[in-house]
């Protein structure tokens, strides 16, 4: 592991700012030939920016790269590709209606003007067998599961030939088994002499796969260490700057009566295919049920059905025994269901509106915000002031436009809106996605407080750590179906991972 080979890449004093935000400040690091190098840091620490600059996507404000012994100044991704640097982006960069091979070939340099998919297919097929990837090249990419789509991304890089591959949060939406497969691929690359930069915020991944790890915190370099020399605790300390338990303090509570019951739900996706099938689950007072699953297995359709924006084809939703199936979203809100949507910017907020108006969205037709035919802006402003204080939103006033807030503060605005009106039930989908550890802890603390006060919560999340940390019971969704439900105490990561991949009989 410690083959101290020559550094293939050297980054010296990189600085990059976006507007007033400093994303990288004076960062230096080295990557050796044939090593797997983790870049560790919280969300917003500046890892992706560092990588995007190296890939020529952004231009750093200052700094110097040396790649393969020569100075390297990428002006565009083309330069990076030509030099032998490839990148798998956090959000896949694929064209869903096109085939696998089309996605791999697009924009690559070759002679002639005509598209030659045949010879490209042969080359890709060879790569596939090299890396033991079982992939039909004529499949439409949009129909592939997420894990396979990632293979396409990796093949895109391998197809043009790389010496250094950067992967940005590649495991974010994979099952544990898919992660294993990915790590096998990375190990194979390593044996072929390729270098890998793996960007992550998950410690167990760092410990499992990396040779060395560079830690960033708040746009600054904390340091580079050999993985065998450190423990998880040291890394957490480097990453967050303090010790973090990650365990949320919960009171021991016995679940009360069932508050929300989902019975044999059948919901369609936008394209008319089944989104959720025969899905049953009930959530009790005083409990958080975590719903684990890989993205795209029906979670968003389920969320939509509960909050009333998606029709039920079949089945029933009961709130404290009252049938609320196919109630309109405003009725659902009135009856006391609060919701934290998975995509806060598009589903949750009016980004161009002031905080105060975001705080009453959905309640703008009820007292005290409305009186007669008018909105009572005095009351709204008072409410906004209180909410900002109570939910620790960092903002100058309720007049501030939402889009000027950070992700964590946006989420606090949503929490303030949703939780201020005594909800009976809360459905939260990926409530901590993209947040830093501080904001994440805050959200979890609030959810647990609610649970302790007697409210039932359904926590839909792709993040297994989150599900395991917060839930009282864990359910799994795969391909729109409920795969089973386990008590937190009897659940294991491996078992839940198997259920997430569609193997029943996993779990305990």
């Amino acid at each position: 592991m410690q083959q101290k080979s020559q550094p293939i890449l050297q980054i010296e004093n990189q600085t990059k700012r976006f507007g007033n935000v400093l994303a990288n400040e004076n960062i230096s690091m080295q990557v050796c030939g044939g090593e797997i190098h983790c870049l560790l840091g919280e969300n917003g620490a500046g890892k992706s920016t560092l990588a995007e600059c190296l890939y020529g996507f952004y231009r750093p404000d200052s700094g110097k790269y040396t790649f393969k012994g020569k100075e390297f100044k990428p002006r565009s991704p083309r330069d990076a590709i030509d030099a032998g640097i490839g990148m798998v982006h956090q959000h896949f960069v694929l064209s869903p209606p096109m085939t696998v091979i089309e996605n791999i070939v697009v924009g690559t340099e070759s002679d002639g003007i005509w598209l030659d998919l045949k010879s490209a297919s042969e080359k890709v097929a060879a790569l596939c067998s090299d890396y033991d990837l079982d992939l039909e090249l004529d499949t439409i990419v949009g129909q592939l599961p997420v894990g396979r789509q990632q293979w396409v991304e990796i093949l895109k890089a391998l197809y043009v030939g790389v010496d250094l591959l950067i992967l940005d949060e590649p495991t974010a939406s994979l099952t544990p088994q898919e992660v294993e497969k990915l790590f096998e691929i990375l190990q194979k690359m390593k044996t072929k002499g390729l270098s890998v930069i793996l960007i992550t915020h998950k410690l167990h991944e760092v410990m499992e796969i990396s040779d060395r790890v560079t830690v960033l915190r708040k746009a600054r370099l904390v340091g580079t260490v050999n993985t065998i020399d450190v423990t998880r605790e040291t890394l957490v300390n480097m990453m967050v700057g303090r010790t973090v338990s990650f365990q949320v303090a919960k009171k021991i509570k016995t679940p009360g009566r069932a508050i929300l019951e989902l019975r044999d739900l059948h919901v369609l996706k936008d394209n008319g295919l089944d989104g959720v099938k025969d899905f049953s689950l009930s959530i009790c007072e005083n409990e958080i049920v975590g719903l684990a699953g890989v993205a795209g297995n029906g979670q968003s359709e389920l969320f939509d059905a509960i909050v009333g924006v998606r029709q039920l084809q079949n089945g029933q939703i009961l709130l404290s025994g009252e049938d609320i199936s196919n109630d309109s979203p405003d009725m659902v809100i009135k009856k006391g269901i609060a919701s934290i949507p998975p995509d806060r910017m598009t589903q949750g907020l009016l980004m161009g509106f002031p905080i105060k108006e975001n705080l009453i969205l959905g309640r703008h037709r009820v007292a005290p915000f409305k009186k007669g035919i008018e909105l009572k802006y005095r009351v709204i402003e008072q409410f906004a002031e209180q909410a900002i204080e109570h939910y620790e939103v960092v903002a100058t006033s309720g007049e501030q436009i939402a889009k000027t807030l950070s992700g964590g503060n946006l989420q606090k605005v949503i929490l303030a809106r949703e939780l201020s009106h005594d909800p009976r039930f809360v459905v939260a989908s990926s409530p901590t996605r993209g947040l830093d550890v501080g904001a994440m802890e805050y959200v979890h603390k609030r959810l647990v407080e609610l649970r302790d006060s007697g409210i039932g919560i359904l926590l839909i999340s792709e993040d297994l750590d989150e599900v395991f940390n917060v839930s009282d019971r864990i359910a799994v969704i795969y391909n729109g179906e409920a795969m089973g439900i386990l008590n937190r105490e009897e659940a294991t990561r491996e078992g839940v991972g198997l259920l997430m991949a569609g193997f029943r009989g996993g779990g305990g």
Partner: protein, 313 residues
């Protein structure tokens, strides 16, 4: 009266007129198709057609060369689309609003320049002698079919050739793949180091040239004279046809033919002198275009990133 409709001469004239009426719309629609496939909504077609018509007509009027008129029409269209590119590509503005702005700019300029160049109405109306049909040797001598399909204008043949060329370009070349991917997810090409801005600008200029030719066809082939507002909504109809055609070249061609047929039909009915208000006949194709939009409203082939400005961050 029914016999008049079924009369062979009527039908031949009808189909031949269909091909003539379809030409300007087909040019515009096929140009717009390429722009749309690259992910850009362009509502400037109507105004650009007007400017193409005015510029083409003026060039032909003063030079005496109809082909120079076509060329100038194309170049004018391309030049105006550079302004669209400025708003859409450089400033990343809302594409619908930009299109409307360019549409108003081009339409307004065409009104003013027409008055400036040709004076106000009342004086003699300037005309050019229009293109002659270009019968294709041998083929045009086939009975009926020859007259219908192979005795058309050169620009009409060109419009249909463009459909095939655009299809081949989009689906059989590397650049075509780049454009299709840009329309679905611009990042796919950006991360390969291809400038999305450059792709978009090129597409807009190509589109503008096609709208320009479509506009120039009107005075140079159809009427022989320029009247303000000559395109009469054809630019808008082309937009509807691309949606109806599900963003596929041959389906777009089919949609354009359908509209051309309706347009030709109302002309022919006017021609045989049925006692029906002609204004209502003219309005018919617009109503039918709306109906066509209802049928083809939910197009599955719509590029996923259509109309969304592309930002890196």
């Amino acid at each position: 009266m029914l016999s008049e409709f079924l009369n062979a001469a009527f039908l031949v004239a009808l189909v031949a007129a269909t091909f003539r009426m379809v030409t300007p719309i087909l040019f515009t629609a096929i140009g717009l198709l390429v722009v749309n496939r690259g992910g850009i909504v362009d509502l400037s077609t109507e105004g650009v057609m007007l400017m193409g018509a005015l510029a083409g007509f003026t060039a032909a009027y003063y030079s005496g060369s109809l082909w120079l008129g076509v060329l100038v029409g194309a170049l004018t269209g391309g030049a105006i689309s550079l302004l669209t590119a400025f708003l859409v590509v450089i400033l990343k503005m809302n594409q619908s609003v930009s299109g409307i702005a360019i549409n108003m700019l081009a339409a307004g300029l065409s009104f003013y320049l027409f008055r400036l160049i040709y004076g106000s109405s009342g004086e003699t109306v300037p005309t050019v002698s229009t293109f002659d049909p270009l019968p294709i040797p041998l083929l045009s001598e086939i009975p009926v079919i020859g007259k219908v399909f192979f005795s058309q204008y050169a620009l009409t043949y060109l419009a249909f050739i463009m459909v095939v060329l655009v299809w081949a370009f989009l689906y059989k070349t590397k650049s075509g793949l780049v454009i299709r991917c840009t329309g679905d997810n611009p990042r796919t090409v950006d991360t390969k180091g291809i400038s999305v801005n450059l792709v978009h600008t090129a597409l807009l200029v190509f589109g503008g040239m096609m709208y320009g030719i479509g506009g120039a066809f009107l005075p140079l082939v159809a009427t022989g004279l320029y009247v303000p507002g000559i395109s009469a909504g054809r630019g808008w109809i082309a937009i509807a046809i691309v949606i109806f055609g599900n963003f596929r070249p041959f389906r777009v061609m089919f949609g354009a033919l359908l509209f051309g047929f309706l347009d030709a039909l109302q002309l022919q009915i006017q021609g045989i002198g049925i006692d029906f208000p002609y204004q209502l006949l003219i309005a018919l194709p617009y109503v039918l275009t709306i109906i066509v939009l209802i049928i083809g409203g939910k197009s599955s082939g719509k590029p996923l990133h259509l109309g969304i400005p592309y930002h890196r961050e």
